[in-house]
């Protein structure tokens, strides 16, 4: 699916229409003792609307491609980043991962791409003599948000892996002074 097509199909309204019923059911069933009827409805929503998984996949691909396109005009750099992104996905075990983890791996990769993108832009802005306090503060905020998003994605992947019972080997990711332990799929 091309970028343009994905963007055209998943407008904000369309996205809301597709996802809103799922959100309602999640809210209803997120309790110690949920109504079995609501659980059945949620099951049906997830099973009978596999389009949601496709939407997630398409959105992820669109976002990945867009960030890579924004990163540089050089086809060589785009290719290199694209290749590294694929390598990262493989390292995180995308190919053999179950559907749920695949989504989370994609999320980690997108958040990493965005973080890398913002870091590049920020260092470029800092290197120019014309940087103002306003610009600096703006990019600091962008960078913090990208770091938070990436750490959150890593933590979620790690948690879900623990919950799904896959024995993780711990690897460490350092961003600034923060350290997060990220689960890595062990060889099975």
């Amino acid at each position: 699916m091309t970028d343009e097509k994905s963007i055209e199909i998943y407008t904000a309204a369309e996205y809301k229409r597709k996802v809103a019923p799922l959100c309602d059911l999640i809210e209803k069933t997120d309790k110690e003792d949920p109504d079995p009827k609501d659980l059945a409805l949620l099951r049906r929503a997830v099973r009978e609307h596999p389009v949601l998984w496709d939407v997630a996949g398409d959105l992820a691909k669109t976002a990945r491609d867009k960030i890579i396109k924004e990163l540089s005009k050089s086809p060589f750099i785009r290719e290199a980043v694209g290749a590294y992104k694929d390598h990262m996905r493989n390292e995180l075990g995308h190919e053999s991962a179950p559907m749920l983890e695949k989504l989370l791996i994609d999320q980690v990769v997108i958040c990493w791409l965005r973080l890398y993108h913002v870091e590049l832009l920020y260092s470029y802005v800092r290197s120019t003599a014309l940087v103002t306090l306003e610009h600096g503060a703006y990019w600091e905020r962008r960078l913090s948000a990208a770091q938070r998003r990436f750490l959150r994605a890593c933590t979620t992947l790690s948690r879900i892996r623990k919950m799904t019972g896959r024995t993780p080997e711990l690897m460490q990711v350092n961003i600034g002074a923060q350290q997060v332990n990220v689960a890595q799929v062990s060889e099975e």
């Binding site: 999640i26 659980l39 949620l42 997830v46 949601l52 997630a56 924004e70 749920l100 998003r149 994605a153």
Partner: protein, 99 residues
């Protein structure tokens, strides 16, 4: 910043904000004032262009962030749904298995 009419004659004043106060600098009425006025106009235009570029850049960054956030949000919803269907529920920020 601008030309001010004083007793039928135009004089150029450069106005700047210093420590929260607006300070006027008198630059006269001759060719030097004309040159200062033209220079100030160029500076103002350059600043306006810079502000426009920054606005456009912010808009572009916001659009990218929105797209990334949309992916994260849908992923979160699907993970929630899958966990709820597998007998988990959220308790004070932690997932717990239903008894």
């Amino acid at each position: 910043m601008g030309w001010e009419d004083r007793r039928g004659k135009k004089y150029y004043y450069r106005k700047r904000r210093i420590g929260g106060r607006v300070v006027s600098q008198y630059l006269g009425a001759g060719p030097a004032a004309e040159a200062a006025s033209a220079l100030d106009e160029l500076t103002r235009q350059a600043q306006e262009e810079k502000r426009d570029l920054f606005r456009q850049e912010r808009e572009r960054q916001r659009a990218i962030d929105q797209e990334v956030d949309r992916v994260c949000l849908l992923t979160r919803h699907l993970i929630y749904a899958a966990l709820l269907l597998n007998g988990y529920h959220m308790h004070r920020g932690e997932w717990r298995r239903r008894r």
